[in-house]
């Protein structure tokens, strides 16, 4: 057997997990409320810095030069697209997850000083799919925005988990609290690449 065959076999034979049960972003308890509450930053122009996927739960994240996003499903090759993620059996909005580079910068400078020192997360160690700069993610629950040709809908704020802390062996739970990123659904699929522009869209169906 060739190595790559062996590999695909491992991934396909990872103990069978139920198919992903995605909750559409605007049907998420958070997104459905936020959608009808006006406010939030507008007019920003952000940029996509990195794309990461992991083939299955606990696997190291791998950086992609481009990624295919499938509406209602996720990023091709990611554990939440495949239904092999740690939280796949739990119905939720997690087609795509995003985190702000600004939050990672704050962690690195130990700001606020919650730890003995700064925590530097290497790209992908945070286990979110997209690392973005200049995008106020906490303002985008219940909003539509464009990443390159793809349109995302903010479903709920991401929340740090103890599992991530265990996986990294680093106390990231508290410092990530309230800036852990955004869980999104994909309204319009397509191909995204680092460097893609990110901007807010009108709520066409509001």
């Amino acid at each position: 057997m060739r190595a790559d065959e062996a590999e695909s076999q491992i991934l396909s034979e990872t103990p069978s997990k139920p198919r992903p049960t995605m909750v559409e972003a605007y049907e998420n308890p958070a997104g459905s409320i936020a959608r009808h509450v006006p406010g939030g930053a507008t007019g920003f122009r952000g940029v996509l810095l990195h794309i990461h996927v992991a083939p299955a739960a606990s696997y190291e994240m791998e950086e992609l030069a481009e990624a295919e996003c499938v509406a209602g499903r996720g990023i091709v090759g990611d554990r939440y697209f495949e239904g092999t993620g740690t939280y796949s059996p739990k119905p939720d909005t997690r087609e795509v997850t995003l985190i702000e580079q600004e939050a990672l910068d704050a962690l690195a400078r130990n700001d606020p000083p919650l730890q003995g020192g700064g925590i530097t997360l290497a790209p992908g160690d945070h286990r979110r799919n997209l690392t973005v700069r200049g995008v106020p993610l906490n303002h985008l629950v219940g909003r539509r925005f464009r990443v390159g040709e793809v349109i995302l809908r903010g479903g709920r704020l991401n929340f740090p988990c103890k599992y991530l802390e265990e996986l990294l062996g680093s106390p990231v739970y508290l410092p990530l609290y309230n800036r852990s990123g955004l869980n999104c659904g994909i309204e319009r699929g397509g191909v995204i690449r680092p460097g893609d522009e990110i901007e807010l869209l009108d709520d066409a169906s509001a």
Binding site: M1, A3, D4, A6, E7, Q9, I10, E13, T14, P15, A56, S58, Y59, E60, T86, P89, K90, Y163, E166, L167, L168, G169
Partner: protein, 314 residues
């Protein structure tokens, strides 16, 4: 027990150190450094057929550039080692977890090791560290023959005079009483087949070794043919929910069925992945990983059970 990242590592070198033992050097394809580890640590290896097996790291704990493991082909085993021998060769990809340590070096004035066959792997890493520190140690290594003694040249190079080999082919048979009486500051480590572990433990206890200074690692479940599992109830402390565990199912399986996600790996009571706390109840411990003192409050739900009822810290 903690979750660990799984990495796709490249097999940089693969060679047979004995006819049955495959020695692998694994490197990260992109990163110059792998997660740090301490002597005695093991990694999980995920095999192409989905099996997960534990292998001790036998390389230099101060060299972060590669992991080294040695896999004995067990033709009568559960198939994991056979799969590894058949699929892993130079250039192939091995799915390997970050290390975990259930068999750490202890504080000691003198470290005594009794090793059988492939049990040499964690000890090799341990003596590398002790030798670098100039610590006092001695190794008794039992193997069928020079030809079948895994990693013997490496062990010799590190230990020199501190190594005694006991090769059946030479008619040299290790008498467990060779370990002698426990001196103040001694720690005893035993690693190898269950038979050796039991013989050395029995001799050590007879020679006055306190249980707390005997450290053993078995990568094989404790087999108790006479064990008859009985049903019991497990209550989750967080929710108060009570789950019934039938005689023919493990506590781990029942927890999973009820949506309690537990990390797990060997499901034989040796790796410690699924270990959790418990509050009250009489637990029937059947694992080989939780220490005697921790058995008061820790349980391995993959193999251990309870009499009538137990409350879990979940």
């Amino acid at each position: 027990m903690t979750a660990r990242v799984i990495m796709k590592l490249k097999v940089e070198a693969a060679r047979l150190t004995t006819p049955k033992v495959l020695h692998l050097r694994l490197v990260h394809p992109l990163k110059p450094e792998l997660p740090a580890w301490e002597p005695g640590a093991h990694v999980d290896l995920r095999l192409p057929d989905g099996k997960i097996r534990q292998y001790s790291l036998c390389g230099d704990p101060d060299d972060r550039s590669a992991y080294e493991i040695a896999i004995k082909r067990e033709d009568a085993g559960r198939g994991g080692s056979r799969g590894a021998h058949e699929t892993l060769s130079e250039g192939s990809v091995a799915h390997v977890s970050a290390p975990r340590n259930n068999f750490p070096l202890q504080q000691a004035d003198r470290h005594l090791f009794v090793v059988g066959g492939i049990g040499v792997t964690p000890v090799l890493a341990m003596v590398r560290r002790l030798s670098a520190q100039g610590a006092d140690f001695r190794v008794d290594f039992c193997a069928p023959s020079e030809h079948d003694a895994p990693l013997l040249p490496e062990l010799r190079a590190i230990c020199g005079e501190r190594l005694r080999t006991w090769l059946s082919s030479d008619g040299a048979r290790f008498d467990p009483r060779e370990i002698g009486r426990a001196q103040e500051g001694d720690q005893l480590y035993v690693c190898g087949p269950q038979r050796l572990l039991e013989a050395v433990r029995a001799a050590a206890v007879e020679l006055g070794w306190p249980e707390a200074r005997i450290h053993a690692e078995a990568f094989q479940a404790t087999l108790d043919e006479n064990f008859k599992p009985e049903p019991f109830d497990a209550t989750l402390a967080s929710t108060g929910e009570t789950l019934h565990v039938p005689a023919d199912r493990s506590l781990l399986d029942v927890l999973r069925d009820h949506g309690v996600t537990m990390p797990s790996s060997c499901e034989l009571g040796v790796c410690g992945s699924c270990v959790c706390g418990y509050r009250d109840g009489v637990v029937i411990h059947r694992d080989s990983v939780i220490s005697v003192t921790d058995r008061q409050h820790r349980i391995a739900p993959c193999v251990s059970r309870a009499r009538v009822a137990v409350t879990l810290d979940l």
